[in-house]
Structure formats: C-alpha cells, structure tokens
Amino acid sequence: MNALELNGIETRIGRYNVLHEVSFTVPEGGVFVLLGRNGAGKTTTLRTIMGFWTPHAGSVRFRDTEISGLHTSVIARKGVAFVPEDMGIFRALTVAENMTLATARGQFDSARLDWIFDLFPALKTFWNTAAGGLSGGQKQMLAVARAIIEPRALILIDEPTKGLAPAIVDAMAEAFQEIARDTTILLVEQNFEFARALGRDMAVIEDGRIVHTGSIEAFAEDTELQTRLLSLSV
C-alpha cells in the first residue's frame, strides 16, 4: 500500500490551470522529495492534496482512500499533517496552545512530548511564550513539532529550510530523519543537499507537470538532468 497516489491531477486557480495531469506515487515510509523551480507548482500540489484547492480532474488517494474533494479538516483528521511554507503557526497563542490545538483531545502523550522536546529543546524553554515572539528557526521547529505531536500517516512539508541558518537546517535534517522512521514525509524543497540527505524517492515538477520521477541518488549523479530540470549542479 502506498501512502499517497496522485493520478492526473488538474488544478485551476481562477482562470489559470496550474497543475496539468500531475501523477506520482509516494511509497509508505521515508521521505519523498518534490523538487522544482520557483512557481513550478510544488506548493499548489501540496495544497491540492490538503484540500485547500479542489482538483478539476484526477484523483488523490491517501492509503487507498480517495480524498480529493474532501474538506481540509476531514483530510487532516484522516492523518495528513501540513507544514506550510509560512510555518502556519498561531502567533498570538503560546507554544503550548499551538501544540494543544494539534491534538485530538487536547491532551499530550507525555512520552511523545518528551521525544519532541529531545528533537527541539527550544520548544520546552519557550513553552509558555507567545509563538509570535519566537525566532524563525524556532517557529519552524514549532510547526514541525505540531505536525508530529500525534502519530500521523503522512506529513506534507513545504520548504522547511527557507531562510534558516545552517545550524538550524542541520538540526532540522536530523529531526526529519528521526520522524521519517515511522511517518511518511512528502517534502517540497529547493535546497537539494538537504533533500538529498533525507530523501529516497523524488519527483520533479516543471510548469505544473511532473517531468521526472525516480531515486534521488540516481538524480544526484546525473548532472545534465539536474541542470536541465533545476538549473543546478550538485
């Protein structure tokens, strides 16, 4: 069983057709990386999976269940967590309140909370601080911690390293490796080194179309392909 399957997804935003027959499969477990240039359609793909945009055509199957057309809140309750590019934290609420909101019954599993504090010690320090007062890296930690405070089957993470200091990026990479042991992560990323350190499988999206799928190691070795699809070389 795959964690996620997209088949022929077409998403329109206003008059614009942003995604064109997007299809790829995210296997259960590990980190699947979706790469692409700015404006290629990476974020729209995640937002379509999460139900913020309803696809005009195609299907999104989460663990063999069709979820396209479902309300965002329903998709979230099925076990899909979303860490948006802007981190999506509630600035006026404390770290504790942000975390509580992500629990189903308003209570924490203490062992899981300790695990999160081990991953992100800063959250324990600032537990009763308004989230708006945290640094960029701490906000990103909170956003990820919120996504894993309860077991999820799939976490969609949109460019988590954007604007973060290298030390924070390294800490984030370690955390993702730890999280990916029992959770599937669909990671949208422009930092190829970061993606390569974590990912096993990948897809490349360009102008709203999937133009390449395969293993990330094979992609890393093919500099011509990288240059053509992403204008980068490793």
């Binding site: 965002t72 979230a76 919120r146």
Partner: protein, 356 residues
Amino acid sequence: MARLGIGGWSVRLIVLGIGVALLFAPFLFPGVRAIEVAARICVFIVLVASYDLLIGYTGIVSFAHTMFFGLGAYGVGIALAQHDASWSALILGGAAGVLAALVLAVLIALLSLRVKAIFFAMVTLAVASVALVLASQLSNLTGGEDGVTYSAPDLFSPATALFHDATGRTARFFGVRMDGKIAAYYFIFGGSLVLYLILLRVTVSPLGTVLKAIRENEARAEALGYRVVAYRTFVFGFTAVMAALAGVLYATWLQYTGPDTTLSFEIMVDILLMVVIGGMGTMWGAVIGAAALVMAQYYLRDLMQAASDALAGLPLLPDLLNPDRWLLWLGIVFILLVYFFPAGIAGTLAGRETRK
C-alpha cells in the same frame, strides 16, 4: 491554575473594584438612579462580554447582537404583559425568546457564515433592521414604538418586604430598605455574574483556544482538523443565547420592553464602544468598558453641570461645559482613550505589564 483570560494585576484590580462596587451597590450608592445604573452595568457586562467572544475571540463581525438581546427581552415582556406577573410566565417567555434567538442565529450562521466577513456583517445588519421594523409594526404583540409595560413577579415588587423588623415593617440594613427592588437587583447581579463566568470559562477552555486560532487564520485551523464553519456557527448561536439571556434580565429589571431599550442601533453602537474601550479579546475589558460607558452616559452631564457652575465667572468655558454638549465631550474622551489605550484599557494595561 487556569489562566483567566489576559490581564495583569492592574486590570484584575480594576475589575475586582467594579465587581465589589456592583455587589454592594445598593448599600454604597443609595438612590433609585444609582441602582438603575448598577443594574444596567451588570446586564451590559454580559452583553458586551458575549459580543467580545464573537468579535474579539472569533473575529466575527455582527450587527445582530441587539436583535438577540431584544428577542430575550421581548419574550419576557410579551409573556408578562399578556399573562399574570408569575414566575412561570417569566420563565416560559424568557425561554421562548432565547429559543427564538438560537434558531435565528443558527439559520443566519448556516446561510451566511461561509461568505466573506463584510457580507456576513451586512446580512446581520439587514436582519437586525427587519427585526427592528417588525417590533415597531407588530404593535398588537410588541406594543409598537411604545413598547410593552408589565409587572415582574411579586418578589420584585417595591411593596414586597424581604425582611421585617420588630415592628413588622420592612427591615432596613445599613439604611437600605430590604424590599423587592433589592431582590430584583440581586437577581440581575447574580444572573449576570453566572453568565459572565460562563463566558469567561469558555475563553480559557480548549474551545477558546480554537476560537482564537480561527480568528488568527481560518485556513491554518482547518489544516489542523477544525471545521471552522461549525465552530463559527456554534459561537454565533452561543453568544446569541447569552445576549438573549441578558435581554431577559434587563426586561425583568426594567418592567418595560421597547425598541429603544433593546433593539435600537444606538445600543449596538454602545456595545461596540464598550468592547473597544474595554479591550477587544480580553473579556475583562467587557467589565471595564460597560462600567465606563454606562457611568459616562448617566453622570457625564451632572459632572459637566457641576464644572459649568464652578466656572460660571469665566468666559467661554461654562458654555463649552454646558451639559447639552455632553456627547461632544464623550466623543473627545473616547478619542483620547483610543489614543492612549489603543488596545482598549484592559488590553493596553495588560500589554504594558507583560513588557515590563
């Protein structure tokens, strides 16, 4: 210990002071007018706090809050006017008013909470206008522009003695007659206190946290699994019930219900001013805002008259302080409050203490 809303010690001391003043109002401030002011403050604290839960905590702008207040008041007014002044009429009339408010609120919410905030606000404005016109037109039922006058249950009658002294007359405590008016005041005070504490409890509950999250960003709340429309519908219905219950209390106290005392847009503006003066999204601010504006409405003219008399020999000033210009001065005071307390009195004081 649960955090009871926002606010440092200064805010809580002010609220405690107002609470103590209201608790002992009949003894501290004797006279019909003072007790009238105290009862109005009690009722408006509930009305403003419920509106704060709606606009300050959830971010829903509604102009129908006085309509729900009016439905509760008219429920009691019509029932007591058309039947004897019994507790059963009061309870059944009040329950009918509250139920009508709940049903109407849920209908409005389900039909229009999915639209953008500005359109929702316009829908509530339109519905509230219709309710005001209906109250004026359906004169057989509502008394039209004149409203309805009625008697409350005997317990609240000034002729009722709550306690007797040795001679068999109505007893006095600290010089205050223990009659039905005192019973009515403590009915209003107790009812308002219970309703306010319920509202306060909601804001510090997990539901309160969800509401604040929805206010900040609906899409983010939905991504965490919260059905925003359901929460917004619930809050709109809940606050409508609270406003209707405040209307029940007010109608019981006034023994009169009319468009001007319950449904008018002046009251809606007063509620908005009280929320802004007190501090939006603070809940303590409802107490401060309601007390400040009601006191100003009742006593600013007296204060200006006294100031005008004291400055009688000077040029211009007595004219400027003429009590007829009280609205001008109220406006100036409001502008100064907004300037010096941009987050309302409770919000600004709490913010200053947090920064220290």
